[in-house]
Symmetry: C2
Subunit: 342 residues, 2 copies
């Protein structure tokens, strides 16, 4: 770890310039800014390299990065409030505070993270909404900053993750529908770079295979993770010459849009097309028929994440970096599921 | 401003004890902890009293305190995500980052704030959900930390605030209902210490007075700001011997509960009892009849809050401390409002 003076010496530029670059102030050449951030990351810069901070555990603060501009959050998702509340409570028992670090919608998530790491304001970071190829993970893996990801990625590196079990949710959703006689089951996947889509897709395919059903590429669609995306999905299903009798959603944010699009096309959710969505949340309760979905304890998830981060900062940090946990979910039946042609 | 060494000297205790107290670590006597926090607040302690931080604007970070454990947040309110996203974007243009500082549900909000201020991790703070008598404001007013409140308070002190215009919303809600012929209008207020309730109540009374209507104490109820609170309100209205023909909600979080309680008592929302709720949000769209409510631009509110905070940190900080702004809202008609007995 190093302080701002040594960082400036290392780079052979003034302390003032280094400070402006670290703090995203104007008047720094983009190339210089990028050199400063890179050096700070690699050398393990901490903002206040006093005695207090020259050891791991300097700030007693854990950062939780979220993208506030995402449609799912703006639609009123309570996921992060509940997870962070429980995580914070667990951390506080061990003398740590949690801060939420919102990456605003106009900012580049990788640059934002580089700035955060460089400024050394937290002891460890949690990142969420992982991508298949995730530059943030590549950045963190090169830095001295301990981190946990909520979600996996194909980006190489040894780091701990916790991930909701999307594969198993999709596989079981198919099995539930097959048991009722469904043969044509559509699926709404997110954009290709969203990592959870890989696992949801593999679970869907595993479910079809277990049932001896063929894969119809027409039934595998990619839409935005938002109400609009759900509407788009429903519109596309309605236009298919050979319509599916059931549909799976890998995100609950798309549910209301799907209901709306089906109804606008004279198709009744539940009776004409069975629907299983992802995570049970308060908004789904307003829908009729009630959507079948999957339940999990978000407070327990937050507690588990607190444990995983504290393990990283403990004496067995190297071992904790290899902690990987698939988080199970329970099926919640709903009136949105019925035998085909009922 | 002072550093940890001078703080320890001032208190005549060890640097290690001061550090543990500031960071909420175990092994510090509660009385000592409280002395440390008080001294740090009064002397303007900053975590890293290097050259970089010995001036105002040391961290280039603004803290936004929210209570994550509140029922309104757990129910999936998108309010803070949208406000903070816009605020962060405005701040970033001036080289500041925003961090969300969640006060978890098991923590004491005043002690949490004292710890935050004492640790000096932000240049300025925003606090929300103000109380009629707000100990957090009393604490901040004594400290060197610039702060903005979203919501007013009767706690004395010179500080800037921005507040949604609850008085005007209630007054206009009454006027809308009176124009349709309503005479008996009930109102759901929050617990007494929630400051917005004072203004909503005064607007309700002003509306009745303008219409020459008497005040019936039976129609003024206090319930929790949650779905359960709304249910409780509806249950109490249904039990009244002389039932009101209309009801006002000072929080949108109570809307679904009120609908449910009325229906369970054979009362139709909209036709039997007209309803006007507070802020338009995505969840309300699922309700039938669509609730009349009030609209505002949350991104613009976030931008205004960024301006107010930056003004505090600018050259005219003393003047900026006297900035007070009532935030206007627009009435959105809905099928939940009809003439009485329709």
């Amino acid at each position: 770890m190093t302080d701002i003076r040594r960082l400036a010496e290392h780079l052979n530029i003034s302390i003032g310039t280094v400070s402006r670059a670290l703090n995203n102030r104007p008047g720094v050449h983009p190339e210089t800014r990028s050199r400063v951030l890179q050096a700070a990351t690699e050398l393990g810069y901490v903002a206040n390299a006093s005695g207090r901070s020259l050891r791991r555990g300097a700030t007693n603060t854990i950062g939780f990065v979220i993208e506030t501009g995402s449609p799912a959050n703006q639609a009123g998702d309570n996921f992060f409030y509940i997870v962070t509340d429980a995580m914070h409570e667990s951390l506080a028992e061990r003398g740590y505070d949690l801060v939420i670090l919102p990456c605003h919608s106009a900012d580049d998530p990788v640059e934002y993270l580089a700035r955060l790491v460089a400024r050394g304001i937290v002891d460890a970071l949690v990142i969420t909404a992982t991508r298949v190829q995730d530059q943030r993970i590549a950045l963190l893996a090169k830095s001295a900053m301990p981190f946990l990801t909520l979600g996996r990625s194909e980006t190489p590196g040894e780091y701990p993750w916790i991930d909701l079990d999307f594969h198993d949710v999709a596989r079981r959703s198919v099995a539930e529908l097959v048991a009722l006689g469904h043969r044509r089951i559509a699926v709404a996947l997110p954009e290709k770079d969203v990592n959870l889509g890989q696992h949801y897709r593999s679970g869907y395919l595993a479910g079809l295979q277990a049932a001896g059903l063929p894969v119809d590429p027409d039934l595998i669609l990619r839409v935005a993770t938002s109400e609009e995306g759900g509407y788009d999905f429903g519109r596309q299903l309605a236009a298919l010459p050979h319509r599916p009798t059931a549909a799976l959603l890998c995100s609950e944010a798309t549910t209301v849009g799907l209901y709306g699009a089906l109804r606008n096309n004279g198709i009744a959710p539940g009776t004409d097309v069975s629907i299983i969505t992802f995570r049970e949340n308060p908004q789904l309760r307003f829908l009729d028929p009630a959507p079948a979905c999957f339940r999990t304890s978000l407070p327990e998830l937050g507690q588990e994440m607190a444990r995983a981060v504290l393990d990283l900062l403990g004496n067995n940090g190297d071992q904790a970096r290899r902690n990987h946990k698939l988080w199970p979910m329970t099926f919640v039946p709903g009136a949105s599921v019925a035998p085909p042609g009922s």
